[in-house]
């Protein structure tokens, strides 16, 4: 589904965030991406979402080389990718309903469809009761869950999540992971960047580990993850 070939990302300013990264996420696979703070996890996800372009190397989604996708095509490509952001990135002046409905409105769904799908997505994250609230009346964890609802509302074949459980309590984290597993079971590929080792340890999924921009753990089960991976290197 996602394939990185010798991908290097150097930010303007010289910071090398990714260094010759290779990996392959199988179609319909669910995997974790982990690593210390500043290891390059968000950068890797941003390359997939075409929010950044690689300095060298190639990224493929479903066999399409992302370097070949023009700026005009990017919006259409992004509609196939559900993204959950490290900070929720909701619009503070629109209600929860309107925030979650955004991807559907953009694709031109009928209002009846939109209502049905938004309600279903909010139900999945346990926030149906707050459908008409404004975001600034929600708690941190609730905002994060609204962000998750927005990412899954149009049933994208690929889901990227950056620290989706950072503001959630352990119980809720498991609930959200179950939502991801449900989606995965109907064929959605899921990639989750997280620091939450407890979470990773409990789930037996493929885990990719970054360290200072290099992929040091690829394809191993999470069982042999050691905390030493998180030794800071800066």
């Amino acid at each position: 589904m996602i394939r990185f070939e010798e991908v290097t990302k150097i930010y303007p300013g010289g910071q090398q965030a990714l260094n010759r990264v290779n990996f392959h996420l199988q179609p319909g696979e669910m995997a974790f991406l982990t690593g210390h703070s500043g290891a390059g996890k968000s950068t890797l996800l941003k390359l997939i979402a075409m929010m950044e372009r690689p300095t060298s190397g190639q990224v493929f989604i479903n066999g399409h080389n992302l370097n070949k996708i023009t700026k005009k095509q990017v919006p259409f490509a992004r509609r196939d990718i559900g993204m959950i952001f490290q900070n929720h990135r909701l619009l503070m002046d629109r209600s929860v309903f309107n925030n979650v409905a955004l991807p559907l409105i953009i694709e031109g769904y009928h209002l009846s469809d939109i209502k049905r799908r938004v309600a279903a997505a909010l139900d999945k994250v346990g926030l149906l009761a707050k459908i008409n609230n404004m975001p600034n009346t929600l708690s941190g964890g609730e905002l994060q869950r609204v962000g998750i609802a927005r990412a899954i509302v149009n049933k994208p074949p690929l889901l990227l999540a950056d620290e989706p459980t950072g503001n959630l309590d352990p119980h809720l984290s498991m609930e959200i992971l179950k939502v991801f597993e449900d989606l995965n079971s109907v064929g959605v590929a899921v990639m989750i960047a997280t620091h939450d080792l407890g979470l990773i340890a409990r789930m037996k999924y493929h885990t990719f580990t970054l360290r200072q921009g290099q992929m040091i753990h690829d394809g191993l089960s999470s069982s042999d993850l050691r905390e030493s991976e998180f030794e800071p290197v800066i």
Partner: protein, 328 residues
């Protein structure tokens, strides 16, 4: 529409009928136009302030236009200043005079011909000049009969009037003609000055309107930077993001135009007193004219157009520039 996953169905594919699609396209545009009104409505003070700025800015060129328009009417009165006085040869008979009058009246450059007999002339001269008592000493009317000729507007300019005078003087019954060229030239210089100033002012004013609209839309785009970034993140095209701003620009222009119209009406009402006073003193049948309905429509169309144009300029540049950065 799905780019990366060919097997995925997009919602638009549901309606295979192209006619239905076109209808949907317009429905969606209408939705966005209405939504952008709602947007304005949510920040009424802020929106009103912006529209007031536009309204006042638009009121200025409109006022100027009315000023020029009403001034035109005044000037048409002044055109009679380009009056040619023709002195008849002595001993021209009445029938000959009638013939000359008819002949001159047929000239295409001539607007109006009036005959003033020697006696009438003396009477008029007495009352006009204030020499009334002094002239009663005269034992003989020293004045000849004259024909007063008012040229058409085209021939009211100093050159045109002079040209016409040359022609008229060649009539055998006419001793000589006279034209107050200095006064005409003064008038023409004043009118030129006013025209120049109005043009300069008008250009400045339209520049101001364009700048205000572009600046307002630019600031409102920058204000909604976060929103634009989020929309881009969830897959909105640039066109989709731009549309509400363009509609907002149009609404701003439209309502600004209406405010301008109200302003102008108020100004008109205010100046009316003085203007009518002036008209009655000039003795002329000057009626003060406001904006006609078609001019009103032009104002609204122009302001909406300017709103759209300003929005378009800002939006094209800034929406493209804003890219969701970092913070994934």
């Amino acid at each position: 529409m799905s780019l990366l996953f060919n097997q995925r169905k997009s919602p638009g594919a549901n309606s295979a009928n192209p006619g239905h699609r076109l209808v949907m396209y317009f429905i969606r545009h209408l939705q966005q136009a209405l939504a952008s009104i709602g947007e304005l409505w949510r920040m009424p003070i802020s929106s009103l302030l912006t529209m007031a700025v536009l309204g006042v800015s638009l009121a200025l060129p409109t006022t100027l236009h009315l000023l020029m328009k009403n001034g035109q009417q005044l000037r048409s009165g002044w055109d009679s200043a380009a009056e040619i006085t023709l002195f008849m040869e002595e001993g021209v008979s009445d029938s000959q005079t009638q013939k000359v009058l008819r002949r001159i009246g047929l000239y295409e450059q001539v607007n109006k011909v009036t005959y003033v007999g020697a006696d009438d002339a003396l009477e008029e001269f007495k009352s006009l000049s204030g020499f009334g008592d002094a002239l009663s000493y005269l034992d003989k009317n020293p004045l000849p009969s004259v024909i007063l000729v008012i040229p058409t507007t085209q021939y009211s300019s100093p050159e045109g009037a002079r040209e016409l005078l040359e022609k008229l003087q060649q009539q055998p019954e006419i001793a000589f003609g006279k034209l107050d060229v200095t006064w005409l030239e003064k008038l023409s210089a004043i009118v030129n000055l006013l025209d120049d100033a109005a043009l300069a002012l008008g250009i400045l004013l339209l520049l101001a309107v364009a700048l205000v609209i572009a600046n307002t839309i630019r600031l409102s785009i920058l204000n909604r930077r976060e929103e634009i970034e989020v929309l881009k993140l969830v897959g909105a095209t640039n066109d989709f993001i731009r549309r509400p701003f363009l509609y907002t620009g149009i609404w701003y222009g439209l309502i600004g135009g209406l405010i301008a119209w109200v302003c102008v009406s108020l100004i008109l009402w205010w100046v009316e007193g003085t203007l009518l006073d002036l008209a009655s003193q000039l003795g002329s049948e000057l009626t003060l004219s406001g904006l006609s309905f078609s001019e009103f429509l032009i104002l609204i169309a122009l302001s909406s157009g300017l709103g759209w144009l300003g929005a378009y300029g800002s939006v094209m540049r800034h929406v493209y520039e804003i890219e969701p950065e970092n913070q994934l």
